[in-house]
Amino acid sequence: MEVFDTIIGQNVKLLGNLTNQGPIQINGIVDGQVESGAVVIVGAGALVKGPVKAKVVEITGEVQGVIHASDRVEIFPKGKLVGDVTTKNLVVRLGAMFIGKSQQAPDIEPKDKEIVEDNEK
């Protein structure tokens, strides 16, 4: 079970830059940049308005901003991403929404890439 260094609850609105070496769980609203050395999870009902940089980004809520993830970006059913993505592995699950461009991280071999774009524009 993931132990989160930072948890933004459903009743939290955060304005500014959230930076953390450890995992970040977002269930509320963040208006600003999110940066983690580990995983960023955007939970159901959450909204992030701003760029996200992390090793892994998992989206069940909504992100409006560019994402740079060194390892993986995964958009789960009902998750929504409006913004461009740069990552090694992009996974868009059935029922997810992705509006933007995806780009392979330039310094990474194009292997293990899985793209399933069901509701892309």
Partner: protein, 249 residues
């Protein structure tokens, strides 16, 4: 040399324990000056006296509240703080004592560790935990340096890493909102009951907190001020005598 500040006993049982404790000072090689705190001898004045007289170790005999008071007066001092608890408590666990006997043993060995202090509106406290609580849900506006957060709740728990080992990142204060209806607020810490589920956890070195309704700031069950409040960590600013098996400085 040791300077002992004891809570004035309110029961014969406590009086007996304190007598037993005092009887061990000479045999254990930790003899020193002994005073009871009371209305005419406030703790901060007693600590100032001890520091001026050059005592190397000031020892609280009593409960965690007395440790809080003494630690707040020992900010950035070379002298160390010792603790002989009359009962088990969160701080006895933190310092590695099982009972007053093991605390006396720790004093004899005098192993020191540095602990953080907290500053609440400029006053220093040993912040193992404080609660900022209002009578009903309200909006807390928290200015935390890199970001501002707005939290709708009736209680924010402020915890230092030294107050709860599960918050193991040093040098930051943990601002926690627990999910409601998860049992007693106080039961989660230090093995007192089931673990409470965290709804929100924000970390920062300092925060200025305002609330839409007046909220009380409660330390060890005692209201120390109301919002708005400014809270800041002062890393590794007090030296404390810990059990031999505890962490090194």
């Amino acid at each position: 040399m040791y300077y002992y500040i004891a809570e004035t006993p309110t029961t014969k049982h406590h009086q007996d324990i304190i007598n037993n404790i005092r009887s061990r000072f000479v045999p254990e090689g930790i003899a020193g000056e002994f005073v009871f705190r009371n209305a005419s001898a406030p703790v901060d004045e007693l600590v100032a006296t001890a520091l001026n007289q050059g005592f190397s170790t000031i020892v609280a005999i009593g409960g965690d509240g007395l440790v809080d008071e003494i630690a707040g007066s020992m900010y950035d001092q070379h002298a160390a703080l010792g603790y002989i608890p009359l009962t088990k408590s969160p701080l006895t666990k933190l310092f590695g004592y099982d009972n007053w006997q093991s605390a006396i043993s720790a004093l004899r060995h005098r192993k020191l560790a540095l602990f953080d202090l907290g500053s609440v509106n400029g006053e220093h406290y040993f912040l193992n935990r404080i609660d900022i609580t209002s009578k009903k849900d309200c909006q807390f506006a928290m200015h935390m340096g890199r970001f501002n957060a707005t939290i709708t709740t009736d209680k924010i728990s402020v915890q230092m890493p030294s107050g709860d080992a599960s918050f193991d990142i040093q040098g930051v204060i943990n601002f926690v909102v627990y999910r409601k209806n998860m049992g007693s607020w106080a039961s989660s810490l230090f093995g007192g009951g089931s673990t409470q589920e965290i709804d929100s956890l924000l970390r920062a070195e300092q925060a200025a907190i305002q609330s839409s309704d007046v909220a009380e700031v409660i330390l060890n069950g005692k209201s120390i001020c109301t919002t708005p409040v400014s809270i800041e960590i002062i890393p590794q600013s007090v030296r404390i005598v810990v059990a031999r098996q505890m962490r090194n400085t």
